[in-house]
């Protein structure tokens, strides 16, 4: 066991993939000698060569599209999109190409590739550099969506992602990079689609991924002092989604809050709630609620960001709402 940061885990996961499979290579901006703007590829170019850790001009469409072309010829590209916002610049390559190749071709072609990206609020990068957009990709058949919350999960989920014969969107939250966690000497592969209970509780289930899991845990500790026992589920992957784990939890807590930093409207919480309601309606003692960000672009000023972004306070508030409790300082 050792303790490493989240970003170190991202680096290790990629190093492991590069070391163990010749078909793996990385493409992205600043990922070579520079080591990535968040240091997620530090040392990889030196170790594996500029050939396999390839710096790109700023050209997201061709980065992702060429990734697809290489993947169908048998490679396993890792493509880093520097900020999740820029995925919009290469959306077609992901949606109409990567995700559909296998199906459209009657399984003659596969496009295994991991599209790594990071996003989220907190660094005040403003409206065009802070979005949380993974929800779009639940709606794209043919693509897995992975959102790790701990260093150990990064390694275990990355291995499953790079081995999958489908493209995978692998989403990192910027604010997690410097967080730490223990990892086993030999981390187990984590099959995609298997969530985990991070905290057991009796009263309300909170389901989340990524940074929101940490926030849910903070909220849970706070609520504990109010006598509320919160169960926190880390879904770990959004596609496939471990709805069974949530349903099982609901059979004990009978109350659900889904938390994400993504904007509430049209966000993936709607998917989980729809399924939880359809498959677990009789278990529910209260309406499932969403703790998510308000429908605005992300403003620069911290006072404004605090107003619209989902945080631990909002999660706690929704848990209380779900229990019909008044707000302590309302």
């Amino acid at each position: 066991m050792r303790e490493i940061t989240f970003v170190e885990a991202v680096r290790e996961a990629q190093a492991e993939a590069l070391a163990s499979d010749d078909r793996v290579f990385i493409m992205g901006q600043e990922i070579g000698e520079y080591g990535g703007v968040f240091r997620a590829t530090e040392g990889l170019a030196e170790r594996f060569g500029a050939h396999r850790v390839r710096d790109m001009p700023i050209a997201e469409q061709s980065m992702l599209g060429a990734g697809v072309g290489a993947a169908v010829m048998g490679m396993r590209p890792i493509v880093e999109v520097m900020f999740m916002d820029f995925i919009a610049c290469g959306m077609d390559a992901i949606v109409s190409h990567a995700a559909k190749m296998r199906y459209m071709s009657g399984d003659q072609m596969r496009a295994p590739m991991v599209i790594r990206t990071q996003g989220g609020s907190g660094t005040h990068h403003g409206a065009q550099h802070s979005q949380t957009l993974e929800s779009w990709f639940l709606h794209v058949p043919g693509l897995a969506v992975v959102v790790p919350s701990t260093p150990s999960d990064v390694i275990g989920l990355f291995r499953a992602s790079i081995e999958l014969d489908h493209p995978v969107l692998f989403v990192e939250h910027r604010a997690l990079y410097r967080t730490t966690g223990t990892v086993a000497d030999r981390v187990e592969t984590i099959p995609l689609g298997r969530g985990v209970i991070r905290r057991y509780g009796d009263d309300v289930t909170v389901a989340a991924v990524g940074k929101s899991v940490r926030q849910a845990l903070v909220a849970a500790r706070e609520l504990d002092e109010e006598g509320v026992s919160v169960e926190v589920i880390d879904l770990r992957t959004l596609v496939p989604m471990d709805v069974d784990l949530v349903l099982d939890s609901l059979s004990r807590t009978h109350r659900l809050v889904v938390a994400h930093e993504a904007v509430e409207r049209g966000g993936w919480a709607g998917e989980l709630i729809s399924r939880a309601v359809a498959e677990g309606f009789d278990e529910l003692d209260a309406p499932p609620l969403r703790a998510a960000s308000l429908a605005t672009p992300i403003p620069f000023a911290r006072e404004l960001e605090a107003e619209m972004i989902c945080d631990e306070r909002l999660i706690a508030r929704r848990v209380r709402e779900s229990l019909g409790m008044p707000e302590p300082w309302a």
Partner: protein, 330 residues
């Protein structure tokens, strides 16, 4: 530029042996018969979905593909029947795909705009304009990474030149010296839009200069010229000297697709005049002293039979089992 005067018809069959020349004829004639036959079937209501005929552009498909090794790969566009046939794909399975049958290359999941035959290095069509260039660039990247001596060829329409991905593909291929050949079939139109409306300089080949790669214009109605230009470009790519942009000037004989309101943008006389320059007839004249008339007639008869058989095969094949609708997705 007036096409007729701009090129010197190469009467030298470019060092091709008689049997290769017969093969050239066989392929061109096959494409022609295929387009005539399937178009008729569509008009008769046997086929459904969009249909883009490559009639009149046979020389580009064939001239380029005979310059390739069987294991070289080709990517294509919405107008891809000719490319698939020239690359050697099976007529019966292409037909079956057009007919939406289980025996089609993609089990009926693809259709006319999505033929793939990995076995023949036909890694498929992207009817997203510009997509073929990216896929070929990516395939070439795979070859480069694995020190594979194969070459990728992208067929693109003149309409692709305005797309950002065209620019990105060429630039990426250039700076990484990837083994890829971009063949723009400048057939005069992107649907109703003439090349002159899409760019100030109606020649496409000179664009290559900006990327520091060779750009050549070739008479796309002369299969031997196309062959020669492609051979040079493929040799160059295989040597590791990077990409080439080939502009093949040709003319689209049919409407953009079946049902196109052609009369809105071109005069019947223009089409009739252009059709007097038949790439198959031109080839016949060029090889008249090499391949006897009866050899050609025998090839024609054989091909007619093959196409009939392919259509019969498609028509007799069962539709796909609905059970496969969900297979291959995620």
């Amino acid at each position: 530029m007036n096409r007729e005067s701009a090129f010197q018809t190469s009467t030298d069959p470019g060092g091709l042996t008689d049997s290769r020349l017969s093969e050239v004829f066989r392929l061109m004639y096959t494409i022609r018969r295929f387009e005539v036959t399937t178009e008729r079937a569509h008009l008769d209501g046997e086929l459904y979905g969009p249909f883009h005929s490559s009639m009149g552009q046979e020389a580009v498909s064939v001239g380029a593909c005979i310059a390739l090794r069987p294991d070289d790969v080709v990517t294509s566009t919405h107008r891809g029947h000719g490319h698939a046939i020239a690359k050697g794909a099976d007529l019966g399975r292409i037909c079956a795909e057009l007919w939406g049958r289980s025996t089609g290359y993609c089990q009926g999941k693809g259709g006319s705009m999505h033929i793939v035959s990995m076995e023949h290095g036909f890694v498929g069509q992207s009817p997203i304009i510009g997509g073929s260039g990216l896929l070929a660039t990516g395939a070439a990247l795979a070859f480069d990474l694995t020190k594979d001596s194969r070459v990728a060829v992208a067929f693109m329409g003149d309409g692709a030149v305005g797309q950002g991905v065209f620019h990105e593909s060429l630039n990426l291929a250039a700076i990484w010296r990837l083994p890829v050949v971009f063949i723009v079939e400048n057939n005069g139109f992107a649907h109703s839009f003439r090349a002159e409306q899409m760019q100030l300089n109606p020649d496409i080949a000179p664009r290559a200069e900006g990327y520091g790669i060779p750009g050549v214009v070739v008479d796309g109605m002369n299969v031997l010229d196309v062959h020669e230009a492609t051979r040079t470009a493929v040799d160059r790519a295989r040597r590791g000297d990077g990409p080439t942009l080939i502009e093949a000037k040709c003319y689209r004989w049919r409407g953009h697709n079946l049902g196109d309101a052609e009369h809105l943008y071109r005069a019947r006389e223009e089409v009739e005049k252009a059709r007097r320059d038949d790439p198959i007839e031109r080839f016949k004249q060029a090889v008249a002293d090499r391949i006897p008339e009866r050899t050609l007639a025998a090839i024609e008869a054989k091909v007619d039979g093959e196409i009939e058989a392919a259509v019969r095969f498609a028509g007799a094949s069962p539709p796909p089992d609905p059970g496969i609708a969900l297979e291959g997705s995620f």
